[in-house]
Point group: C2
Chain length 368, copies 2
């Protein structure tokens, strides 16, 4: 009897049948992990830790080299582990004919053109046709299973713990770089695989740059402190932003903070199954525009989070996509004034049938 | 009057003329930095910090987005900074015809096939032909200028300082992961951009795996400790391995250590301008084979180091390439016995006219 809940591999195999493809070569590291649970990362696209070969039916293969043999066997379930001696291409040349694969899809968004040229030569010699497919597994990954949502919840929880531990040590005289380093160190000490992106720690007017890189700027009383941070726990990412002032915030800061918070809450209220992404973005943008800061909110409202810290859906003014139950997104409106500073507030939410479920519990600086 | 020492950009332009190409698009981050000094890294190949467009003659362009505008202007010299609003492709479409570029080379080893497909469509519309070129700038990078050798020397020096600081704190009861974390933290505290690769810290029999990942294994008296580490300073990488025993090493360890050290010295003696790479590999391999450990030295002897931690030349049994003055290589022979442990010793050297110049000064555990 067929399972009621097809696995990611089964869903991919259904897709292959629909496209009349015989197999799919998966090289993107998060996609590889999603389908197989095999967690080794690539050290850059040129140092691959392996590939999956998913035939249209039957057992899929995990191909890797001997360094990863043990890990591949331990972690992947339902996959045949094939260790290549001379690299991926010779192994494919050996395996594909036996599996009857003549029409092979591959991840063109995670294959170097140079690798493609070699793959194409091998395929031509073996009578195989190649089909570039981009973002197919990513599409499956958009809607999370409950076990994935639990993993994301744990990641958010640990990220908040790290934030709170470091936040309590911040005082005038520290540099942005020092705080960022303390965040990364604490993440690792508390068991994270690492940061999901280099933490942003911006003091004073530096906070006006949405992608500020922590530098030697020293914290002074009265400064804005913007911290945007996330970590990876069991493969799943978190992402959170808080903005505070050291000492007593003035009325300008409070007014702007309340605007950003109100924008965030308006967007959250708009999130539910079936809502259109750009409408959620618009709900936040309207609040900021009405307060007179429309042109100081220059980025999209939010993005999906999962095995990657930035994935679909995008909560942007351009996206006509619809939210679906089980998607997990950030909501992170901001106001950035070059000579003054910036305020951004970011939480993570699960899209549910009727509303959004908040994954965060930290409330630092949110409601002043 | 033409400069006596052509710059990297000029050498690349000479290459373009030789190949009858009108321009070259450089996307690989270390190549970008090598040619322009612009140092922003890519966060993965899908999040590029920019590209260089080198016309056959005249001023080259650095194309990036507004987030990197300031850094691009500050760091690059001799480049026109072009900020793209809608991404790299529309900017190329705009720039190429004005520069008279009809035959464009691109880095096929650092271009996603998906990106190539879009580039190819744009090129076709504009009457431009594309030429995949792999490793061209890397070939220029092989031989270092003296200022690069100084930067590598500084990187080695800082790496040794980090090693010595952490080495003095190692004691029974610590885990591999703890030591690795201390190494990474100390690198950052002392001003490194980061590690040049995740440090390898292997205790006891774990040292028998050349690519061991630091884990929860606890150090006990009598254990082998193998540490392979490197950092990035001002863009340039270091790479060093030391192997010691906690407590008093036994005769077996001493005998094997002396064999590895003798192999290392034999290889170093073989290094000079004009020496063939595989002969240098063979010089070390012969010592290990004569001592009866031939089959326990399963990797190549060494590799080039520069802006990347692994680059050409490869000191391997297969390489017929000749060393040239100014190349910088590691020499890292090893013996790995699965049930006993491993010993690897690694130093970095500059190839000079008559001999090799050692960049290391640390002698921990080398001559017992």
């Amino acid at each position: 009897m067929a399972s009621m809940h097809p696995s990611p591999v089964q869903r991919l195999q259904n897709f292959l049948r629909g496209r009349r493809l015989d197999g799919f070569l998966v090289t993107q590291p998060e996609n590889r992990r999603y389908l197989s649970r095999y967690s080794a990362p690539d050290h850059g696209i040129q140092e691959s830790a392996g590939a999956l070969l998913i035939p249209r039916q039957g057992t899929p293969y995990l191909l890797t080299d001997s360094r990863f043999a043990l890990q591949a066997e331990e972690e992947s379930s339902g996959f045949l582990v094939h260790i290549y001696r001379k690299g991926l291409l010779p192994s494919l040349k050996e395996l594909l004919p036996g599996l009857g694969i003549r029409r092979l899809g591959f991840e063109s968004h995670y294959t170097l053109h140079e690798t493609y040229l070699r793959l194409e030569r091998m395929a031509r010699q073996s009578g195989i046709s190649l089909f570039p497919l981009a973002g197919q597994v990513e599409r499956l990954r958009c809607v999370k299973r409950e076990e994935e949502i639990s993993a994301l919840r744990e990641s958010v929880r640990l990220n908040e713990r790290v934030f709170q531990l470091v936040y309590n040590t911040i005082e005038p005289g520290m540099s942005e770089r020092e705080v960022a380093l303390a965040l990364e160190l604490t993440m690792r000490e508390l068991g994270a695989e690492g940061p999901s992106f280099p933490p942003i720690v911006a003091f004073g007017t530096n906070s006006a740059r949405p992608h500020a890189v922590p530098g030697e700027r020293i914290l002074r009383t009265g400064d804005i402190v913007l911290i945007d941070m996330g970590l990876i726990l069991n493969g799943y990412c978190s992402d959170m932003t808080r903005t505070v002032v050291v000492g007593t915030p003035d009325n300008t800061f409070l007014r702007r903070l309340r605007t950003v918070r109100k924008a965030q809450q308006a967007a959250i209220s708009a999130i539910r199954h079936g809502a259109v992404c750009r409408d959620v973005d618009r709900a936040a943008r309207r609040v900021i525009r009405d307060a007179g800061y429309g042109k100081y909110f220059g980025h999209a409202l939010g993005h999906g989070v999962g095995l990657a810290v930035h994935e679909d859906p995008r909560l942007s003014a351009a996206s006509r996509k619809k939210l679906r139950s089980g998607m997990v997104v950030t909501v992170e409106p901001g106001i950035y004034l070059p000579d003054w500073g910036g305020i951004r507030l970011e939480n993570m939410l699960v899209v549910r049938e009727k509303e959004a479920e908040l994954l965060n519990s930290d409330t630092t600086g949110l409601d002043l």
